[in-house]
Subunit: 527 residues, 2 copies
């Protein structure tokens, strides 16, 4: 295992902000220091300071140069003490929703409130996000803090439409490719570029061990699709699955520390055949497995039948449930069809059953959807699922661009994020073609970070524009290094710039020295 | 000069469709032949045919393997005969709008009507796009066919909201980099990937010669920004520009065959200072030059003052005018501000003056705009500019992703295209950083092709979904080669696929053989 995995960002330092209600919490953030603005007036040089910019930081201990990281030992268990304290006070429940409903603000809630408000206090921007607000949103199911008590290594984060739009990166080995090392490396790499959660979609051998390595070394919540492991236990025969096998997998994964499970419990026997007249049938792996099971046994699926049992297990560990859209459309043609919406109706029923057991829940969404049909997805989800957060895969707005599906899906993701989707599952350039390598993961994460940020701007999230404004001011003042440092991918920005420039010039090769609009624009203001 | 520039697409052949009103026209298209669908039932193999799919083809003679291309000689002058015939009949005017107002359907109009209707006739899809419809749209200024009489090499295409969304690729040398060879190669390369027009934004030396090479070898219309060449003639001193210098440049470029000019005639003296309180001032090169000129001389610009003279020149050659948005916002902060909208109002006045002289005209738009402010741009443009087509640069929906601005802008472009923008100016990954190389041009063109196509799907353009549906059916049936052949970038799709697959498998490494949702889904339908 490669232990040299420290993460650095240029011009940046790790800072921690303390809590008020919970003085022991230290919320990690990245602070970018800017150069001053230099002007020459009457031959004299004047400098005016530019403020430091705070950036939401998902790199955990990897991004703190003072902490030694050892993959064999795992990350420091940030939340262990908080969890143990709560257990000491109230053995009855350990879940965020349980406390939220009682108006108790947990350290996790205060942590995310601070984390969401980057730059607000420093720049005097008003924000609706207080610990009390977080508590209410969690109590009413409008937001989720996925935080298994057995994953104390993860830093708290929140998924909900009133908060920053989050992104998830999928990693995981399949039967034919990739090793544990590679997957752990991809997990850390995803955090470097800004993934807010990671789903480990491993199949094949070593599924348990791969997950263990990822969990112990991940500073962000981890999601899984437990049916994949259950399938391994029945040698890939969907019809041999039973509730007992599945339950054992669930409990094992809860014990390991998985923070949220995708459960394809929205597929009803009566709805399976709704997908029969589709162009691309069922494209969700879990969905196809459950549909197959229902059809073979001519019974409701054990996921639907045992949903309350699943909730009871989840509640014990505070694992969140992500109701999987097994019938999501896999093509533009199939978007917004009966099968998809029938499943959404079922998910709406189940949301309330989860909440009754204090289980946090969010809803997965499509898929492939042309732009004019995206809004309907969001509006129906809100209506049918009682404001539980929405978590979509893209959606991809056309089918004809394999090799560029990080872009087709970023287009849909930005839009649906603006409409209120709380978390966007990334898509890499290799979607539909092959498993992503490290560079593909970077492309996918950054494409979705920018889509999520575009959504935050459009939602007018407090403070979201601060970074854009700083970037633009740096651009106008030819502070190139600040531009790189403030960008989502400083390494790439600098690399591209260097292809034809010397850092520090008051123009770039796009226009050349005589035609720089910004330079000319400056002379206008100076006169 | 490298003459080995033939363009091939896998599984494809060039076909020509003849006209009815004008039997001499041959509209070029690409036809992709698909494999049959193979099913095994009761041990027997059944085949059913899949239709050929027609694809809008911008590769001109380069894509026709039977035509020899010689860069020194230039492309065959497709439209020469049509133009000469018209001149013989009516020396008075040579312009598409002139004929359209008289209800005369030119060969160009029939050509674009056929070109826009790919797959419609073959698959029985109804389309509103007839030669008569094209003629009306051009007559009323809602669509533009940019077609300088001195650029007979270009294949006719149409820009208007009722038609397929078009994309433009910018190329051009600057003072510091790139040669003529490279720029001609980029022009042809842009056509390969699907650019509908090309803007030659060259500055520096060799500006005239570079343009000549591009024009003679370009199968798509060419646009320029004449002020750049005028600036060369005054050694880069904006204040030394005069109408006479500019006029001479215009006439020279008209003679050469430029199909449309960006003219920054919307900047009024009274509006120059509206940009003073901006975060990023003026970011349009032309806009900054004209603003500087206005401020220095304290006069209305010669472009505004001589707009009628400009129209008279353009009308003689049927050059279209693209009213440049010199005050477009260069940052999220500056979006939709007074300066921007004041210029739009001025452009609205000028549109009607252009139409009075039978000059085709479209309007350039931003720029940097957060998603929630995009729609206002489109709605205002339609209202103020009397339905003249809109042509936008992106817009970029965030400022913080240099190195990925082809994506930030494709997000905005897809949306504004859906709202009705007729042409989208591409942005490459090097935007804000450096001049694009060939690979950047490919990335930018494909990103914008997919954004434009997503807009066409959302607008429900007749036949737009045919290609998506064919792709999705091929996907569901594991016809991998058809997927590659139907994709926007077959080379990349195949290359990515090969990183971990053997072509022909009934699964891919994304899921592995045991977990392929589509394969399981097939077994559902078979039972």
């Amino acid at each position: 295992m490669n232990n040299d995995l420290k993460i650095t960002y240029p011009g940046s330092e790790r800072v921690y902000i303390g809590g008020k209600l919970h003085p022991k919490i230290k919320v990690s953030m990245r602070r970018v220091t800017q150069m001053p603005t230099v002007t020459i007036k009457d031959g004299e040089r004047h400098e005016s300071e530019n403020p430091s910019i705070y950036i939401y930081d998902t790199s955990g201990a990897y991004g703190d140069q003072s902490v030694e990281v050892d993959l064999e030992r795992g990350l420091p268990p940030l939340r262990r003490e908080w969890i143990e304290e709560r257990r000491g006070q109230d053995a009855h429940n350990v879940g965020q929703m349980y406390y939220a409903k009682r108006g108790i603000i947990t350290p996790e809630m205060e942590y995310v409130a601070i984390r969401e408000n980057m730059n607000c206090k420093e720049l005097g921007i008003e924000s609706h996000i207080t610990p009390e607000f977080v508590c209410r949103e969690v109590a009413e199911g409008r937001a989720v803090i996925p935080a298994n008590v057995n994953h104390p290594e993860a830093e708290p984060m929140i998924i909900g439409r009133s908060f920053l739009t989050k992104i998830n990166a999928n990693i995981g080995s399949s039967a034919t490719t990739s090793s544990i090392d590679e997957e752990v490396e991809k997990a850390i790499w995803s955090c470097k570029w800004g993934a807010d959660t990671i789903m480990d979609l491993s199949t094949g051998a070593n599924i348990h061990e791969t997950r263990e390595w990822i969990l112990r070394n991940s500073p962000v919540p981890i999601g899984t699709v437990p049916i994949y492991e259950a399938m391994e236990r029945v040698a890939g025969k969907a019809e041999d699955l039973t509730w007992e096998i599945y339950r054992d997998v669930l409990i094992e994964q809860c014990e390991q520390g998985v923070d949220y499970f995708t459960i394809h419990c929205g597929i009803r026997l009566k709805n399976v055949m709704l997908a029969a007249d589709r162009l691309t049938g069922i494209v969700s792996r879990g969905g196809s497995i459950i549909s197959k099971w229902c059809q073979t046994h001519q019974k409701e699926s054990f996921l639907y039948e045992h949903f309350d049992d699943i909730c009871d297990i989840a509640a014990r560990y505070d694992v969140a449930l992500s109701l999987g859209d097994g019938l999501r459309p896999g093509s533009i043609y199939d978007a917004n069809d009966r099968a998809q919406f029938a499943e959404l109706d079922t998910m709406g029923e189940l949301v309330e059953r989860a909440w009754a057991k204090n289980v946090q829940v969010f809803i997965e969404g499509p898929g492939h959807v042309p732009m004019h049909k995206i809004r309907e997805n969001m509006e129906r989800q809100v209506e049918k699922c009682h404001n539980a957060p929405f978590y979509t895969l893209g959606p991809l707005v056309t089918d004809i661009a394999p090799g560029y599906d990080h872009i087709t899906s970023a287009i849909g993701a930005a839009q649906i994020g603006w409409y209120g989707t709380a978390m966007l599952c990334y898509v890499t350039p290799k979607e539909h073609l092959a498993l992503p390598n490290k560079e593909d993961v970077r492309e996918g994460v950054v494409a979705f970070k920018l889509a999520a940020h575009a959504a935050d701007l459009a939602k007018q999230h407090p403070g979201a524009m601060v970074r854009d404004n700083a970037m633009s001011k740096a651009r106008y003042e030819f502070r190139w290094k600040d531009q790189f440092n403030l960008s989502l991918d400083p390494e790439r920005a600098l690399e591209y710039y260097k292809t034809s420039n010397n850092v520090g010039g008051r123009y770039c090769t796009m226009c050349g020295p005589n035609f720089c609009a910004m330079r000319i624009s400056h002379t206008l203001c100076e006169e």
